[in-house]
């Protein structure tokens, strides 16, 4: 996402902020009331009878984690990041903070139909990220029938195959999910409701899910500026998946109104460009159009984004293969792209060597620097001011272009399950970043680059 712009002034930049906040509080309120209701009903309920032994599960704690380090070799002074919500320079000591993380989960099943679940994840995030963002899941789930499930609270934006377990390294073969496919996706959880229906069709299990909610995320900004707040309101999605004999296919579609808060830097640029807006009737249409595009991209507000996803996975010993493709459309420049990856692994006892190839193609064209602004503006405001405006327009376009994502990569690695609950992973990634395509990198510019990333992690569950 647009890491160059920082965030503030939500009230005036974001007409949906107040409404979203109300909606958000409403859903959290419903969740809390449900939790209290269940707690109250349990308080008075008798101890489970002997024949129900095991049906009521005491609170169960489980966790997962990753400890890892990486070495990077990049032909530009950029920083490697795994997710767009990590700081521009996310590495920390020995680059350990990029992949290291820990999660803790508590499950409580007061009855076979009801479940309460909470999960917190500690990992490297942008400095000013609210502590509450550590809360990954907090929901109450109810199964009115064996094939139907309703969840209310903080749940998952389940639009892509790994959308809800990107942090659980033990659950996938690679050191990290494809950065091209998942690195940009800033939503880790949504506050809302989802409904899952399961049915059997021959040898296959079908699963359909509908979800609705609100997602927020904190993204990094240049030093001294406030972090960017991204809001995805009315996040509405449908996914259908089919599973049989180790073969999984998943199709998803979601829409959301996405807005990005204005940073002080973006505000300055917009203010500096405002004379063009005032002089619009006297200026060539192209100059005004260019200016409006820059202003719109400096802080997109409430634009509808659409997410299409298709995933295929095959897991049948000794092979494990997975591929996904997505198309995201909308007014937000860096989001608008086609993304895909394919991966193949082969199990030899406890070793799984794998290869993965990824690509992100931007569907937004880089903005060209305004060429004839000075000529058009000089008669109206004089040469020095016209030159200055030209300069502001050029810098703004460069800034926006640096957020585009255009790169490909190949990865080669090995996962070694040296115990049933611990795995060692080694991976080499080679990245080719095209000009105007460094949006996934910390402090990325409009230049092209090549990079080698060597990673080693230990993933575990407990």
């Amino acid at each position: 996402m647009s890491k160059k712009r920082g965030g503030r002034n939500l009230s005036n930049a974001d007409p949906f902020a107040a409404q979203a906040a109300t909606q958000h509080r409403g859903l959290v309120g419903i969740g809390l009331i449900s939790l209290l209701g269940i707690a109250a009903s349990l308080w008075g309920s008798p101890a489970p009878a002997a024949e129900n032994e095991g049906a009521v599960r005491a609170v169960q704690f489980n966790g997962f984690g990753t400890v890892g380090s990486l070495a990077s070799e990049i032909t530009q002074p950029w920083h490697f990041r795994r997710d767009s919500d990590q700081p521009n320079d996310a590495g920390g000591y020995a680059n350990m903070l990029i992949d290291s993380r820990i999660g803790l989960q508590a499950n409580y099943m007061p009855s076979p139909q009801w479940e309460l679940l909470g999960q917190v994840v500690a990992k490297q995030r942008e400095q000013d990220t609210p502590v509450s963002d550590m809360l990954q899941w907090a929901f109450v789930s109810y199964e009115p029938a064996a094939d139907l499930k309703i969840r209310l609270g903080r749940t998952s934006p389940d639009v892509f195959l790994l959308a809800d377990y990107r942090d659980v390294g033990f659950a996938y073969p690679w050191v990290r999910p494809s950065v091209e496919f998942y690195g940009w996706f800033p939503m880790h959880s949504i506050d809302g409701i989802d409904l899952t229906k399961i049915w059997a069709g021959g040898a296959a299990t079908w699963r359909a899910k509908a979800l609705y909610g609100y997602a927020g995320s904190t993204l990094p900004s240049p030093p001294g500026d406030d972090p960017i707040k991204l809001r995805a309101q009315d996040f509405t999605g449908v996914t259908v998946s089919r599973e049989s004999n180790g073969f999984t296919a998943k199709l998803s579609y979601a829409i959301s109104r996405v807005s990005v808060s204005r940073s002080a830097q973006a505000n300055q640029a917009i203010q500096a460009l405002s004379p063009i807006e005032m002089l619009a009737p006297q200026l060539p249409a192209q100059v005004v159009a260019e200016e409006r595009q820059l202003v719109q991209q400096e802080a997109p507000t409430g634009a509808w984004s659409r997410y299409f996803g298709l995933a295929l996975a095959y897991d049948h010993n000794p092979w494990t293969a997975q591929a996904e493709a997505s198309y995201v459309s909308g007014d937000i420049f860096p989001e608008h792209a086609i993304r895909s990856y394919a991966s193949l692994g082969y199990r030899i006892r406890s070793f799984t060597p794998f290869v993965m190839a990824s690509r992100v193609w931007p569907r937004s064209r880089p903005l060209s620097a305004p060429t004839d602004w000075a000529a058009a503006l000089t008669p109206l405001i004089g040469a020095p001011d016209a030159q200055a405006l030209q300069q502001v327009g050029t810098l703004s376009a460069i800034d926006i272009n640096a957020t585009l994502q255009n790169q490909r990569s190949v990865a080669l690695g090995l996962r070694w399950d040296f115990s049933a609950r611990t795995a060692l992973k080694l991976q080499w990634d080679y990245y080719h970043v095209y000009a105007n395509g460094a949006g996934l990198w910390g402090d990325g510019t409009t230049a092209a680059a090549y990079a080698n990333i060597f990673s080693a992690t230990i993933d575990f569950v407990f």
Partner: protein, 144 residues
């Protein structure tokens, strides 16, 4: 003499196959209406695809210790997966809040006792139970 050799060889073969073939007995409580299960049904229950028997009754799955021989044989026969693969599989289901893995019991004796007391329970053993409180609903032939 040849007949003695043949007898010896036949005896050794029988003994050999008896040692290699560790059948797994899937059991339910004697009061359960379930009298037999297909391998696919047991797989659906133990892999968290469903929480109920085909008649709609809630099923409560119990598991043996993860480091035991019976556990490995049960899942290898049922799914072809190793303990590490199962760990990875359940990490995905559990930490995405979909479903919890079956509850582990410390021993086969405990399995027999718990299933014998609980009408909704389903479990498995590496030996044929003689206990009157449980019923065998499927025998899994483990590969040699």
């Amino acid at each position: 003499m040849p007949s003695l050799t043949n007898t010896l060889i036949a005896g050794l073969l029988t003994l050999g196959s008896a040692c290699a073939r560790a059948d797994i007995y899937v059991i339910v409580n004697k009061s359960s209406p379930v009298h037999s299960l297909k391998q696919q049904e047991v797989q659906d229950l133990y892999m968290g695809h469903t929480h109920s028997f085909s008649n709609g009754d809630y099923a409560l799955c119990f598991d043996l210790p993860r480091d035991g021989v019976a556990y490995a044989a049960f899942y290898r026969t049922l799914t072809g997966m190793s303990a590490a693969q199962l760990g990875s599989y359940w990490a995905r289901l559990m930490f995405t809040g979909q479903t919890l893995p079956p509850q582990h019991l410390p021993s086969e004796d405990e399995m027999l006792a718990v299933v014998g007391r609980n009408p909704s329970a389903i479990g498995y053993l590496s030996r044929q139970p003689t206990d009157q409180n449980v019923r065998v609903v499927l025998v899994l032939k483990t590969p040699d």
